[in-house]
Symmetry: C2
Subunit: 214 residues, 2 copies
């Protein structure tokens, strides 16, 4: 790395804030270009600073670190936000991550690990504790998992037809796509409706997409 990474600190505890500033400026790879006790002038504080990384406290008077993170990621998407907090409060850290934070560290962390976490973020990592990671994983699984709703016993052709339906195609288009007559498409769709217990294409598409039957 050629140049020092620029860091801005938001931390209401003066002692900690100044310690961090000191620590960063001591290091070879980082320099602190701003340190503030709250986020009430967030935008002005960051404007024109060429800031690459934010150290963000969660609990601060006025705007919370989570709100601030959202705003930063909206105004300056390139800035990585690293949350720092006293207690490992899963819920607020989780919220912070959802708000766009790149990771978090405990304030009880040793100076070496602090710098380590900064490097993790810089190299594209997202430092977080296992319990946070698990929560993220679970959320992720919820939205990605295939809920094994293959229980409708659709045949291969029926799945194909349903697939086409979810792409918004009409009977005619499906027919030509699958090289069968529209009457056959109709028969398949009738059977699909019976199996899914629906009575219209919109219902079928909604069910297929929401339960990922496709």
């Amino acid at each position: 790395m050629d140049k020092k990474q620029t860091v801005v600190i938001f931390e209401d505890n003066r002692h900690l804030r100044e310690s961090l500033e000191f620590l960063l400026n001591l290091s070879e790879d980082y320099k602190c270009v701003g340190a503030y006790p709250n986020c009430n002038q967030l935008a002005e504080n960051l404007k024109g600073k060429d800031c690459q990384l934010c150290l963000m406290d969660i609990e601060m008077p006025g705007m919370s670190g989570i709100e601030a993170t959202k705003i930063i990621k909206h105004l300056f998407p390139h800035i990585n936000v690293l949350i720092q907090t006293v207690f490992s409060d899963d819920d607020s850290i989780f919220q912070a991550i959802c708000a766009g934070a790149s990771g978090y560290i405990l304030k009880t962390t040793s100076p070496e690990e602090y710098i380590e976490a900064l490097k993790d973020v810089q190299s594209g990592g997202a430092p977080m504790t296992p319990s946070i990671a698990r929560r993220v994983l679970q959320l992720f699984k919820v939205s990605v998992q295939i809920p094994t709703n293959e229980e409708y016993n659709l045949t291969e052709k029926e799945k194909l037809v349903l697939q086409q339906l979810t792409e918004g195609k009409s009977y005619k288009m499906i027919a030509s796509e699958l090289s069968i007559s529209t009457e056959t498409v109709k028969t398949h769709i009738k059977n699909i409706y019976a199996k899914l217990h629906v009575h219209s294409s919109t219902e079928a598409v909604a069910k297929a997409l929401q339960e990922r039957i496709i």
Copy 2:
């Protein structure tokens, strides 16, 4: 914790496998109830073992640890799978996590950290490195974010109607739901079609659900 946690090991390197078994049986909290060099008799190996945790190598002759993880999570969803690997190969670890793994550790990890990771998993955590965590985060954001497809300029009423449409309702049902005439519903839907550039309800529903316009 009252009883020892039961662990099964899948690891093709005999030396490592036996070391792990030894390490686990030495510990206060774990006992190894099986250790196998591959996953070719996976189901039989786990059946009737009351196994709570699996240590799973990724690279093994025959079935890979990722395949094995999928099968385990399908057959025995309660079992937590902890991936162990020599190199921090982001991609396969990521795949393993998608397959349902609860975390992973490097084989170079010290015995203390090994036990630490096991405890993390047991207490609901998901040990992983920052780089993996970042990838999971990114994927998570991709699947959760609202892709700002508010660019269709739907009015409030139109969004409402579209919402109902995605629930599979007919014009009549929407009309009575929103206490307007079906003719008005029709008008709204015509406008929706024009704005989304679609020509049927299935297309509209597909677009709405896939792009999360709802």
